[in-house]
Amino acid sequence: MSLARVNAFAVDGVEARRVWVEVDIRGGLPAFTVVGLGDTAVREARERVRAAIVNSGYEFPGKRITVNLAPAYLRKVGPSFDLPMAVAVLAASGQLPPEDVARCAVVGELSLTGEVRATRGTLAIAEAAERHGLARLLLPRTRAREAALVPALDVLGVETLQEAVEVLRGDRAVAPIPEVDAATAAAEPDDVDLSDVRGHNALVPALEIVAAGGHNLFMHGPPGTGKTMIARRLPSLLPPLTPAEAIEITRVHSVAGMHGGEGLVQRRPFRAPHHTISASGLVGGGAPVHPGEVTLAHHGVLFLDELSEFSRPALEALRQPLEDGRVAIVRAQRVTVFPTRCTLVAASNPCPCGRESRACTCSAADLARHRRRLSGPLLDRIDVCIAVARPSAAAMRRLAAPSSADVRARIVAARERQVARLEGTGLTCNAQLTPRLLRELANATPAAQRRLDRVHDRSALSARGHGRILRVARTIADLADSGSVRPDHVDQAASLRLDDAALAEAA
């Protein structure tokens, strides 16, 4: 009887959990059983493992082989246990010295010919391996770059089972981590520049305000007016990614199977789900639990076009995650928490007929019905609202526009001022200001307060509406490098407000 044990990892939520792949080989009628709560892919591993071992030139023991994936209560999903199983079988059958697999984590799918294929969640696995005190990680070479983001880990990227065995035995040096494929890097053009937004140049300042203060945005306009194009420019205006943010995004995208293994994600995500998406698609769920769009937009932008067409349950599900910055997916046996801190951009047509205001044929009742379909509580999270119209031909011809670089410089400066002001509060931008902090830190001049009061009276603002305008005014003041909020800043913010009466109308 021989026994071997190999460290593997299972992705759960946005992190990885340690799994022991234990192999027991004893005399008896040949059998190959896998136990330990695996899904279909795990059970089918038997075929792949057997074929890969044989086709790689190793001996498949003709004995009674039992593979156990421990702990039993953890659900194992997917084909990433193929390679650890094969390695464990080889170790248990004496073809690989057990000490060679000690302190080494192994993940990877196997093809029938013994090729090692990529799996999801590499960064999370690498982080978990390091956390558990493992020194080495054996994994598909295409994912090596991603795993290398964890500094203390010795990354062994391999392409075949045979290579894996030889590397473990020490007979072969591990191949260097592949460079980022130049072709794939060029395929993603470095981002969209603001000057591309022909005809909407005048909207750039509004985007600047939104990006500088971290505010959410609502765009109102007929179809074909470039709302999506404008929204797509927003991630490039947000401040550059901090290393911690980049790691978080990489981890999430890797777990979702979106990341091609190119290493660190360099750009803030932009997610634009179609309005037919379900609640679980938007915030996460399912079995096994997968992250939703709002998590994939973490540290980036979530764009909801045609807000009125989204289902009510989906929009309701978004409320708490947008407020808390995280969402907890609850199952009977487990609660998984995903991060959800993102900027929300919502867009809607002004009315069902979709024509511009002069040509609009909708009655007031049609308009009211359409507005009711927008989610009031979601709109309540939005500080800035702008109307978008089809640009005139003259506007389209205008070429002068600030480049993203100029605008970004102003935004970064404004953010720095906010960070300095918010030191010690745990917050990082004006959009996060609570009512109490807003009162303490806004620093509005008495004239500005009076101006805000006038606006309040004229348009029957609620307390929340009042706060929204003040938050945005604070951002505008920061962009203008003004220590205090002045009446002019209040005016600009008032002109960008989301009307409270509108919220009362939206259900």
Partner: protein
């Protein structure tokens, strides 16, 4: 000082555990019930089953909650359970008794990162 921090951490974890059980429709009968062998974290009712829950909390990144649920601890919980059954007369009738474990991972701000509930853990 360190033990105080551990205590608060433990309390947070228990709170998350209680919320989770309540969400599942369980009825929590007792929390931190003191016996001469120690404290029972949670005593609850799942239908007709009486469940003794041991809650283990730890900071994300610093190990796993189960690291401290070793044999001696399990025996302690069993002993405390029988004390509870003897002492507490005012309780509904139960068909079965079970021991569960709840592992809670918490981040540095005290927010929930993950919760695992193992039924019949020991």
């Amino acid at each position: 000082m360190a033990s105080d921090a551990r205590k608060t951490l433990g309390r947070r974890g228990e709170q998350f555990a209680v919320e989770h059980l309540t969400r599942r429709g369980w009825q929590v009968l007792a929390r931190n019930h003191h016996t001469r062998f120690g404290e029972l974290d949670i005593v609850a009712r799942d239908g007709e089953t009486l469940v003794f829950c041991e809650v283990k909390t730890c900071r994300a990144g610093r190990g796993e909650p189960w690291d401290n649920l070793h044999g001696a601890k399990r025996n302690q919980v069993r002993r405390m359970a029988s004390v509870w059954l003897n002492e507490v007369r005012e309780r509904p009738f139960f068909v079965a008794v079970r021991f569960d474990a709840v592992g809670v991972l918490v981040d540095e701000r005290g927010h929930l990162v993950r919760l695992d509930h193992l039924e019949g853990a020991f």
